[in-house]
């Protein structure tokens, strides 16, 4: 205790004497001093210079990323279109093969061309006499072109069973051959050409199938023309004597909602700490780029709305100090789809910041009046660029401000640029 008292006396002795001490620098001190005084300081100039540098870097990053993404997308698009074209060519080739397969039929019936021609002539004659009064059994059986076409439709159905496609035959202009084939068959069965072969069941089946035909937005046949998907309809070959249409379930565009994504990224921003420590010049110093980085869970409730939260490490810097925080954001996201691969996302929410530590690496003084926890508000507008089925690149400006006080009963703001990657499960 005696020792302690002695020490206190020593401290008091030094303090009282040194506080009275009033030394004066050398006489020429001010003359030397004047030459080293800089011109009037401009806070905005320093701030603007710092921002120009980082804004330039951010812009360069943005442009570079955009170019890379667009190049990647174009590459993917070209590959997709190449596959599409190859597939279509394969289909066309198959159709051509089918047509060729049908050719022997026509060659088989060529020898009977004469008799077919005869029959055809009969038909022609029949149509010519259709309006004439019925006077003979042959003429009674004459029924005109309409009935013949119905018969032809039914026969075409039968032709399908042998692998002859409905559509290609029509397009190839080979109906004439089929007509001849049908007529030849009829002749072989010794059916009177005047007798109509109308299979009502087949016609009914065909009608039902056509009515039930479903337009299928197939991924393979998807052409991206802005918003409008152009789908093509594949009509399958005729089976079971009926021109059926390929039935498939309509696939949804991605997974159903709600769905979960993980977002990882970083934000570079500026926060003027001088607002918080304006009473202590050397605490804050010039604004330096700060950053936050972390992982967010993105919960998509609907195509246009999502919630996200997670963890970010935040490092707020000035030229003379750093403040490090655990940062937990709760963000609401509104998505606006602009095209198949581009979207605009408006985000806003709250951020809880918990101080990890502070470092004042130039003046070495401890921070007074700091808050260990403060609440902030944050908003951003992100451009979302799809980089595939699962990955989206998000970039855009972000702004925020403190809702509660950060230090010394004062608040501050922040503005920056974010770059994030989102992976959808």
């Amino acid at each position: 205790m005696t020792e302690h008292q002695h020490n206190d006396n020593l401290e008091r002795f030094f303090k009282e004497n040194l506080e009275r001490y009033s030394p004066t620098p050398s006489g020429d001190f001010w003359a030397r001093m004047e030459s080293s005084i800089p011109p009037k300081p401009s806070a905005w100039k320093g701030l603007a210079t710092s921002f120009r540098k980082w804004a330039g870097l951010g812009l360069l990053l943005l442009v570079g990323t955009t170019v890379l993404v667009l190049w990647y997308r174009d590459k993917q698009e070209i590959e997709r279109l190449s596959k599409q074209i190859a597939k279509q060519e394969a289909v066309a080739s198959q159709e051509a093969d089918v047509s060729k397969a049908a050719a022997p039929i026509s060659s088989e019936i060529l020898p009977e061309k004469a008799s077919i021609n005869g029959a055809a002539n009969d038909v022609a004659n029949a149509s010519e006499v259709a309006d004439a009064p019925v006077s003979s059994p042959n003429l009674k059986t004459a029924y005109g072109k309409k009935a013949f076409k119905q018969q032809l439709t039914a026969s075409n159905g039968r032709a399908g069973s042998s692998g002859v496609a409905f559509k290609p035959l029509q397009e190839a202009g080979e109906n004439q051959v089929v007509e001849k084939q049908v007529l030849a068959e009829n002749a072989a069965k010794e059916l009177p050409i005047s007798e109509p072969i109308i299979d009502e069941t087949l016609i009914s089946q065909a009608s039902q199938s056509m009515a039930a035909a479903t337009v299928e937005p197939s991924d393979e046949s998807y052409f991206d023309l802005g918003f409008i998907p152009v789908t093509d309809i594949f009509v399958s070959s005729i089976n079971n004597h009926a021109p059926s249409v390929k039935h498939q379930k309509i696939k949804p565009f991605g997974k159903p909602y709600p769905r979960i994504s993980v977002e990882s990224g970083t934000t570079t921003f500026a926060m003027p700490l001088s607002r918080l420590f304006s009473g202590d010049t050397l605490y804050a110093g010039r604004v330096k780029p700060s950053y936050s980085a972390g992982l967010l869970l993105h919960y998509e409730i609907s195509p246009s709305f999502a919630l996200q939260g997670g963890y970010h490490f935040k490092n707020i810097r000035s030229s003379r100090m750093e403040l490090r925080y655990h940062s937990v954001p709760f963000i609401a996201v509104h998505k606006m789809k602009m095209s198949r691969s581009i979207s605009l996302e408006a985000e806003t929410g709250f951020v809880v910041n918990k101080l990890i530590n502070m470092r004042s690496y130039t003046d070495g003084l401890a921070l007074r009046g700091r808050k260990n926890v403060w609440l902030g508000w944050q908003s951003s507008l992100n451009l979302g660029i799809s980089m595939g089925d699962h990955v989206t690149l998000l970039t855009g400006p972000t702004v925020g401000s403190a809702i509660s006080t950060v230090a010394n009963g004062k608040r501050t703001w922040e503005a920056g640029l974010g770059l994030n990657l989102r992976y959808q499960f």
Partner: protein, 181 residues
């Protein structure tokens, strides 16, 4: 006529040389004494004063008149002195108390005529780390925890440095004027 602080501040913010000189003339004893206490010699203290004044002039736009202007100036100058010490990357090594006291040249006449100057000389004889901790604790009245945060040392290290600094100063005082102090 001594100008008011408000006029000095306004003038300095405009970059007026006269206002800057007025600030210097008015506060130079206080500012220079701080530099002398933290520095190890006169010339070094003048260099630090010059740096500190430049900092004051360039950062004056950040000052808000919530507290005494003199207090703000004092704080800036202390910070500036600490910054200079940091640039040197000083180490807080342990020094034998007897060594320092032995090297100290006692001058009883100086002490009796210019006590304050003699005390500053004693301070300047202390190892840098001890001197810094002593100044921060005794003169600026920071706590050991705050000193630890400022200098990047443990609180216990700050206590230890202060204790050793005081022991050295006591020895120097005893050597100069006996056991009066």
């Amino acid at each position: 006529m001594i100008p008011f602080d408000e006029d000095i501040i306004r003038g300095c913010r405009k970059g007026e040389r006269k206002a800057q000189q007025a600030l210097y003339e008015k506060y130079k004893p206080m500012l220079f004494s701080i530099c002398l206490r933290y520095a190890s010699g006169w010339h070094e203290a003048e260099d630090w004063l010059q740096d500190g004044l430049v900092k004051i002039f360039t950062n004056l736009f950040q000052y808000q008149p919530t507290g005494a202007f003199g207090g703000w100036l004092r704080r800036v100058m202390v910070n500036s002195a600490l910054e200079q010490l940091r640039k040197r990357k000083r180490s807080f090594q342990t020094v034998e108390i007897g060594e320092v006291a032995d090297e100290f040249e006692a001058d009883e006449e100086l002490f009796s005529k210019y006590r304050e100057e003699a005390l500053v000389r004693m301070l300047q004889c202390l190892p840098e780390g001890y001197r810094t901790v002593f100044n921060l604790y005794v003169m600026e009245e920071y706590s050991h925890q705050e000193i630890g945060n400022m200098l990047g040392i443990a609180e216990s290290a700050s206590r230890s440095q202060l204790s050793r600094a005081k022991a050295m100063l006591r020895k120097m005082l005893e050597k100069t004027v006996g056991a009066e102090a």
